[in-house]
Symmetry: C2
């Protein structure tokens, strides 16, 4: 279990701090709003009211000992940047920061922050990709041109086993799971001998062009 | 190519509208700010200054003919909800809306919006999952307990082919790509006979517990 600090309890910081804590890590949250700190106290390890732009207030906290500090201040550009400066001066080894504009990103990079996340932009692109391909389940930003789709069992596949169909050698795609809507859990793992039924839904990962062709 | 309307040019609406247009779709954007409309005009099909809470202004637009309307107004709860009401009354068939709080989500659902997205919350959870497992590339929210990880070739695997290793039948995981850092493109598709080299990086999809074990 690691130690993290999350600064700023907008939606990003709030859900990040709670989920990291739920995953078993030690999380200190900092926000200038007493109400926000009060509301989250029960769901994290430690919650402190402080102004992260004021170096004196930050210096009393054990910031250089943690694995990472995440700055989740989006709206207030000045506060985000002054906070990063303080963290750098206080010897924080790893900073992750939320950016809310291209200019914000440029300045964060110049300040030496290499891990920058853009929630609204990334979700917008993922949503656009899924509106473009309605059967797409997951857009894989790190593997361009690849995605995971949900495909109702095509007629020609019914009654055949995955081994017979040899989709991987024929099309370069992989079936990662099969869901029988009558069962609670999808089938995973070694599916080579599984014989497809009409009602099965295939979860397939592969190059977009190929996935489009298989659908037709 | 489909027809979409995007209302609200915060980061979400801005990147959604531009990416949908880049993917070849017909996108009309609506925002009450003339500057924002002016800035985006060149990158979308049509851009209109209007107050989406004013039914008269919305009635003159061809909203019931499009495939989907996406409401990307996060901060102003009232504006988001009044906009949804107007869209419903104007006969829009499919509404997608951004929510910025649990209360916002509840009310959107009561208004009959079934497609609701939460960019900050979802990215925060994804980031927490990746901070929890540093070699995780992609957190798959639709397949709980599954993820895609990047794994440097373990010593015992060097010089063996994927067929020999039979990772799928042994562990229930699938190798979806292999990256040789000396090459520009990762190897994809049918990798059964590929013999692993020391410098290869494997992209593996499978259940988290198993992926953790393979690492060690
Ligand atoms: N100087 C500061 N010191 C500590 N906390 C601050 C400071 N400035 C802002 N905050 C806190 O940061 C939090 C996030 O603020 P803001 O709403 O700007 O973030 P956001 O990135 O837009 O949020 P979201 O993650 O919901 O998109 C607020 O709770 C606010 O109280
Ligand atoms: N009644 C309205 N009619 C049209 N546009 C509006 C209306 N109210 C707000 N907007 C526009 O919606 C846009 C988004 O506003 P807001 O900043 O609230 O969104 P957000 O969801 O917080 O943004 P982000 O996607 O960056 O997180 C702004 O450009 C604003 O001009």
């Amino acid at each position: 279990s690691k130690q993290f600090v999350v600064i700023g309890l907008g939606n990003s910081g709030y859900f990040l701090a709670r989920h990291l804590t739920a995953l078993g890590h030690d999380v200190l949250v900092i926000d200038s709003s007493p109400e926000k700190i009060q509301d989250i106290t029960a769901s994290v390890s430690q919650a402190v009211v402080a102004d992260s732009t004021r170096k004196k207030q930050m210096a009393s906290l054990p910031l250089n000992k943690v694995d990472s500090v995440v700055v989740c201040i989006g709206e207030d550009l000045e506060a985000s940047l002054l906070t990063v400066l303080n963290l750098k001066e206080l010897g924080v080894k790893h900073i992750i920061a939320k950016s809310s504009s291209p200019a914000h990103t440029v300045i964060l990079e110049k300040l030496g922050v290499s891990d920058i996340f853009h929630p609204e932009r990334d979700m917008a692109i993922s949503l656009a990709e899924r509106m473009n391909r309605p059967n797409m389940l997951d857009y894989l930003p790190f593997m361009e041109g690849f995605s995971i789709v949900e495909l109702a069992c095509p007629e020609k596949f019914i009654g055949k086993s995955l081994k017979e169909l040899s989709l991987t050698s024929k099309y370069g795609v992989q079936v990662i799971a099969i869901r029988d809507p009558l069962e609670t859990e999808p089938k995973l793992g070694n599916l080579a001998d599984y014989v497809l039924q009409e009602r099965d839904v295939l979860f397939i990962i592969g190059p977009n062009k190929v996935l489009d062709k298989i659908k037709d």
